[in-house]
């Protein structure tokens, strides 16, 4: 055997062992755990791919014996395939860890159901991953899908499931509820990617893309002819678009509770200092700019009126940051280096109006959600005040969006009173007791959502109103 062939055989055997392991690992997870939404579909894809790769490796060796001059190319091919599996490898373990005992499954189910009502997202599904970072992520899937499509041309039996999104939660926040509302923002990234890649483009997405080209050309002038500078400017604007789109998308689906959750998360991460809130960077628009968009949308959708009597610091912060003048926003490339300010200007003038329009067009109208919240809020809060799962005596479980927003308002304004009522005056300043009651409040909220889902499923099956 030639040295080149021996090297190729060695590489192929290493890859064979690798895929063999992940195939068995996925099968074992499916046998031993229960998963929300689409994790099973993802594991099945990996299993089929692994089986196909093992077959393909045999063909590559056979090819190498027939055409020895191609040995270096065939080694590169194995290397490329191995790297694709490496990308999947990074998803498999976090997906396996995210079984129903470690994530807020009712919230994931609810978000997944709501996603079906978003334009062009019917039959889409979500794989939840648990990350070691204290941050929520959406794992961009366009590259993986593009790669999977090419890999499918070599391994035809392995088709990547269509409309599959990957959302990452910090493992420490798995059992929480309120901060996990951030998954709606991450689902927004998934929706944005799907809309960006749909063919033909949604008309409002096409308008947004045109606005990006117009704005970059306007900002760069003749410099727009420089392909690399143009590509980087487009990427920066695209990054900003996605963050604003996802915030507004989340608000359209769950209302002001998302804004409150977002304030909590940024506060937890220390991103709410006066200077930080005004800074755009290459990946994110300034928090003040984002909050201005939150408040605008909440006002337009009448949520702001519905929470007029909520006297919470989080709401005041939203209002204060939203009022800061646009001229105070600054774009920094890193900690110290000022970036091209014209990009911010064209983004706000040309691009943001197109984002607002796109979000409105693709998400369901929510006027009835606001009304339902206004009607149900006091009875939900009454339940929470006496320590029981929110329910209505006559109409069954209240709708989940009302439960989420009422519970969040209650958490922000009334938790100290509940602590005092149940635990006595001595517990008023006890951090551990506050933490415990927050946890209880979250569990009641989550149970109310689960009840509503059960009832909804029952109605659909029976085809009758309870």
């Amino acid at each position: 055997m030639s040295a080149g062939l021996a090297d190729l055989l060695h590489d192929a055997a290493v890859l064979h062992r690798f895929v063999d392991f992940i195939e068995e690992y996925c099968k074992e997870q499916e046998r031993s755990q229960t998963y929300a939404d689409a994790s099973g579909l993802f594991f099945q894809y990996v299993e089929k791919l692994a089986a196909g790769v093992k077959q393909e490796l045999g063909k590559e060796i056979e090819r190498a014996t027939r055409f020895p001059k191609r040995l270096p190319l065939l080694r590169s091919n194995i290397w490329t395939l191995k790297n694709y599996l490496r990308l999947l490898h990074a998803l498999i373990k976090p997906a396996a860890d995210a079984h129903t005992l470690t994530i807020p499954a009712p919230l994931v189910d609810l978000a997944s159901q709501q996603l079906q009502r978003v334009e062009r997202m019917k039959n889409s599904s979500i794989v939840i991953l648990l990350t070691s970072e204290l941050m929520y992520f959406q794992r961009p899937h366009t590259d993986i899908k593009d790669q999977a499509r090419i890999v499918e041309s070599f391994i035809p039996k392995a088709s990547f499931p269509p409309k599959l999104g990957f959302i990452e939660l910090p493992y420490s926040q798995g059992p929480s509820f309120f901060t996990n509302l951030a998954i709606y923002h991450e689902i927004g990234h998934f929706v944005y990617e799907e809309l960006s890649n749909s063919d033909p483009l949604h008309p409002d997405m096409a308008a947004l893309k045109s606005a990006v080209v117009r704005s970059v050309r306007k900002a760069l002038g003749n410099g727009a002819k420089d392909p690399e500078a143009f590509a980087i400017a487009v990427r920066i604007i695209e990054n900003w678009i996605q963050e604003i789109f996802c915030d507004l998308f989340a608000i359209r689906l769950v209302g002001p509770a998302f804004s409150f959750a977002f304030v909590e998360i940024l506060g937890m991460l220390g991103f709410l200092s006066q200077n930080a809130t005004l800074k755009f960077n290459p990946t994110h628009p300034a928090a003040a700019c984002r909050f201005a968009e939150h408040v605008n949308l909440l006002r337009d959708d009448l949520w702001w009126n519905a929470i007029a009597n909520v006297d919470a610091d989080q709401k005041k912060l939203l209002e204060r940051l939203a009022k800061l003048p646009r001229s105070s926003y600054k774009f920094y490339l890193d900690e110290k280096t000022l970036g091209p300010q014209r990009l911010v200007q064209v983004f706000l003038d040309v691009v943001v109006p197109a984002i607002r329009k796109l979000v409105r067009q693709v998400t369901p109208e929510n006027a009835t959600a606001v009304k339902r919240f206004e009607n149900a809020r006091s009875s939900i809060e009454d339940c929470l005040r006496v320590g029981v799962v929110p329910h209505t005596p006559t109409a069954g479980a209240p709708d989940p969006v009302s439960v989420i927003n009422s519970a969040f308002c209650f958490y922000l304004t009334s938790l100290p009173k509940v602590v005092k009522q149940f635990e006595g005056v001595k517990a008023e300043n006890d951090v551990a007791v506050h933490s415990l009651w927050t946890r209880r409040l979250e569990m009641w909220t989550m149970k109310a959502i689960e009840d509503a889902q059960m009832q909804d499923r029952f109605r659909r099956i029976k085809g009758a109103v309870l």
Partner: protein, 143 residues
């Protein structure tokens, strides 16, 4: 927020896989006289190379490669402007006359060009570099 570790590098891997697809189709054609995958693969490559000359985002979803900073950067690293022109001419020649005996030699040269691109993309995937300071400075000057 989007995860930044493997995600940035994934673009390089996409380019490596794209190059592999082109190389595999060309190898099948040169070594085994099979041309079923030749036209679709080369057609995508041609369209992508032509698109790289005139950057825009409106047609992003229609081209298979050279539509991102990472792809363009790798292309710049491996192929000179002359190489790109040569690749375009060679792809056209293969698509135009796949049965001509001279075309296999042209296809072999294309295999060499695309495998260089694949290897550089794999290298960049392993050793990703941040956006070049030169490009950032250019952007600041232009905007």
């Amino acid at each position: 927020m989007t995860s930044m570790d493997l995600q940035d590098r994934a673009q390089y891997l996409s380019l490596a896989l794209f190059s592999q697809k082109v190389v595999s189709a060309l190898m099948e054609y040169v070594d085994e006289n099979k041309s079923a995958r030749l036209k679709p693969s080369l057609g995508e490559a041609l369209e992508s190379l032509l698109h790289a000359k005139h950057p825009s985002v409106s047609s992003r979803q229609r081209v298979a490669a050279f539509n991102s900073y990472e792809h363009l950067r790798t292309l710049e690293e491996v192929w000179s402007a002359r190489d790109r022109g040569k690749a375009i001419r060679m792809i056209r020649a293969v698509i135009r006359a796949p049965k001509s005996p001279k075309t296999k030699a042209v296809a072999d040269e294309l295999i060499h060009l695309f495998s260089e691109l694949q290897n550089q993309a794999l290298w960049n995937f392993e050793q990703p570099k941040p956006v070049s300071q030169r490009v950032m400075q250019r952007l600041c000057r232009l905007a």
